[in-house]
Subunit: 431 residues, 2 copies
Amino acid sequence: MKSFENVRGMRDFLPDDLTKRKFVEGRVRDCFRSYGYEEVETPVIEYLDLLSARAGEEIRHRMFAFKDLGGRNVALRPEMTASIARVIATKLRLEAKPLRIGYIANCFRYDNPQMGRYREFWQAGFELFGSRSLEADAEIITVNNDLMKRLGFSDFFIKIGDVRILRGLLGSERINESDQSAIMGLVDKRKIKSVISFLEERKVSNDCLKTVKKILNLKGTDYQRIVNEARKILTQSEASLKALNDLETVINLAQLSGVETPFLLDVGFARGLEYYTGMIYEIFVSDLGIALGGGGRYDGLVELFGGEHTPAVGCAPGIDRIVLAMEKKNLFPASLGATDKVLVIPVSEALSAKALEITAILRSNGISAQNEVTGRSIGAALSYADKKGYSYTIIFGPRELEKNCVTIRFMKTKEQKEVLISEIADNIKHS
Amino acid sequence: MKSFENVRGMRDFLPDDLTKRKFVEGRVRDCFRSYGYEEVETPVIEYLDLLSARAGEEIRHRMFAFKDLGGRNVALRPEMTASIARVIATKLRLEAKPLRIGYIANCFRYDNPQMGRYREFWQAGFELFGSRSLEADAEIITVNNDLMKRLGFSDFFIKIGDVRILRGLLGSERINESDQSAIMGLVDKRKIKSVISFLEERKVSNDCLKTVKKILNLKGTDYQRIVNEARKILTQSEASLKALNDLETVINLAQLSGVETPFLLDVGFARGLEYYTGMIYEIFVSDLGIALGGGGRYDGLVELFGGEHTPAVGCAPGIDRIVLAMEKKNLFPASLGATDKVLVIPVSEALSAKALEITAILRSNGISAQNEVTGRSIGAALSYADKKGYSYTIIFGPRELEKNCVTIRFMKTKEQKEVLISEIADNIKHS
C-alpha cells in the first residue's frame, strides 16, 4: 500500500544512519563550544511572509507552504537564517552584541530528490551578529574550516567571493536593486548568456558588458594575482574595489587564525540566497565537486524583520552532504556506535523474575543489559545475541542459582565462566 | 509586523531553554543505552493515510494536513508510533526480534496553546517489538520509571489499566470494534454520561450497564484489593479477567525490576490513541496533575501497515512537560550549560591579527576562546565579557607583546596576572 511508504523525497534514519549523523552533529557542537556559539532552536513552521522575504526565487517556489487550521499562511522552513534573524530582531534584541548563535535543524525544500539530496535535510549553522569587522568574516570561515578538519577531511578548498563586486559594478551602471538580484540569481546558476542579454536590454555601456564578461570568468587559487587583475578591470566602481580589498584582508585574517586550506577566489561568485551583502564562500572537497557548506555576510536581514540595524555573518554546513562525503572518504571511526551489551537468558521462563533482578543489578552498575523476553530456547536466544552484536550473555538455571551463580558467555571467544551474581559486573567491566 | 512573530502555538528555544531540553534528551539517551534501545529518526512529513489509520478522532482532526507540490495528501506527524510501526513493517521487517527502538522527535498538533502545550512539541519514545510477554510490558514501565528517577523526580506514581478490561466486557455484549473505539474515546475524556447513553441505545443488558458504571469508578493504589474487587464484578468476560491477571503480573515484574513507585490501578482507564490492545499506563508527578509520559501495548499496528503480525509495547515520555515539571521542582543542576570561556581583547585594532593567533592557540588546547570583534574600548569589552559570563579575559598591548606576554583577568575576582603567551593555556586550565 503506497501510503505506508515514505513520502517521495523523505527518508528514515535507521540506527546506523542516525549514528553517523549524530557523530557529525557532535563535532558541530564541539565547534559551538570552542568558538562560543550558543545553540538555539526555532519552530519548523513559520509565516510564509517571513520565509519568503529574502529567500530568492529559486527557494521561494520550492517551499512546503499551506494554510494552517486557523487560516494562517505558513510554510516549513527552507533554511534557517530568516528564522534566526527573526529571533535576533525580537527576543534577543536587547542581548549584548556580538552575539554568536548556533543551530542544527531540519529544513524542507521541494527539490528533485537525487543522491544525497532530500526534501527534508539537515543543516548546521554558525551566525555572528553585531560585528561589521572583517575578523568576524574570518571567524566564520575559520570555524567552518575547523569543523571540516575535526571531521577528518584533509583535501578541501574554500571558494570565496563578494557580492559587492558584481553589485557594485551594476550599481555604477544604475541597475536597480531588484534587477541586480535577478542578475545575481542568473550568475548563481551560471546562465552567463542570459546575464548578458539582460544587461543589453537594460542598455548598459559596452565597457560594462566587457567588464562583466571578464569578471564572470576571473578566478583562481593564486588569489593575490586574481585580486590584482580584478583591480585593473574594476576601476569604475569604488564599491567593487573596496570589496576586493576586504576579501584579501579576510583571507589573511583567516590564515592568521590557523586556516591552511587553499582559497579559490572567484570574482564572479554568487549564491542562491538574496540576502547576502558582502563576502560569500563555499567549502568543497576537492574530488567530490559538491559544496559541504558555505555562508556569507548579510547585514540587512535583522533590520528587515523589524530589528535594529545589525551586521551579521554566518555559515551553514550541510549535515547530509557531510555524512555522504565522509562515507565516500571512509572518515567514520570503525567502532562508531558500538556498545558492550549483555543479554540475560534464564534457562526456563519460570526463572524470568530472577533474570529481571540480575538485569536491574547490571544496569545500576552502568552496564547496558537486556532481558530475553520471548521465552525461546537458549540456542535461539544465543543466535539472536550473535546477530544483534551482544558482547556477553548471561545464562542461568536452578543449578547455578542454588550457588548464587550464573554463567557468563563471552560471545566473541565463545568462552564461558561461572561467577557469583554479586561479581557479574566486575567480570564484565574488567574483561 | 505580524509575520515576523512566531506562528501561534510555535515557540523558539533560546539557549537556556534548549540547554534544559537537551539535558532531558541526554538522560533519555542514557536510558536508550542502558536498556538497549537503538535510536532512529523518521521524517516530519508522512502520508495522511498512515497517520490517520489508528490515531483516534481527537488527533485526526488536529493534524497539520496539506497537499505537497506533487499533489500528495500529507501531514506533519502528530505522534511517532505510526511512523515507527511503518519502519518496522518495511525496512526493519527482517531484523531479528525482539527489536528495541528509541526516538526523540518533534510532533505537531493543532491544539489550543496553553501552559506547557505547544503545537510543535517534543516526545521521546521506547518501543519494544516482537515480544508478547508480560516482561516486555514490565520493561517499558521500568525504563520510563528509571528515566524519571535519573531526571531527579521522586514523588510520582504510575496510573495503570488495560483496554481489554472494558473492551472485553463490551465484546461480551456484542458491541462491535468500531463502537468499542467510540466508547473508549468517551471514557478517555471521562464523558461517563455519554458512555451510558451510548450503551443504552445499543440496548445492552442492565447488568452490563451496572458493571460499566462500577468499573469506570474503580481505582486505587491498593492495587491488589482493586484487582480482587474487579474480579468479582467482571465474571461475565473471560477477556476482562485475563487482562486483570496480566495487570497484576506486570506490576509484580516491574517491581522485581526495581520499580518502587506506587501503582494506581484504574480499571476504567482509557487513552486517546485507538491502537492500544492491552496494558496502558501514564506517569504523574503527584502534585502537578499532568501526565509526563505514558504508553501501552499495541499488537495490531505493524500488521495494519503491511508488516508481519508483531506484538509491540512502548511508551512516550513528553519532553516539554518533563522540562516544565523539572523547572517547577527545581531539578535542573545549578551549573547547567556553564562553560569556562575566554575573551581575547587587544588594546588596539592594529593588534587584532595577534589576537586571532592567541585565540587559535587557546582553541587548539581545548579552551573555548573568542575574539573581541568590534574594535570598541577595553572598558566596553570587559563589561560585555561580564554580561556574557566569561570566566577570563586576555588583554594585551604592544608593551606586553614585546615580552611575549599578555594579561589574564579573572573575571569573578577581578584579579589580573601577566603571563607568557606560551603559558596562557596552563594558567587557565589550572586556575
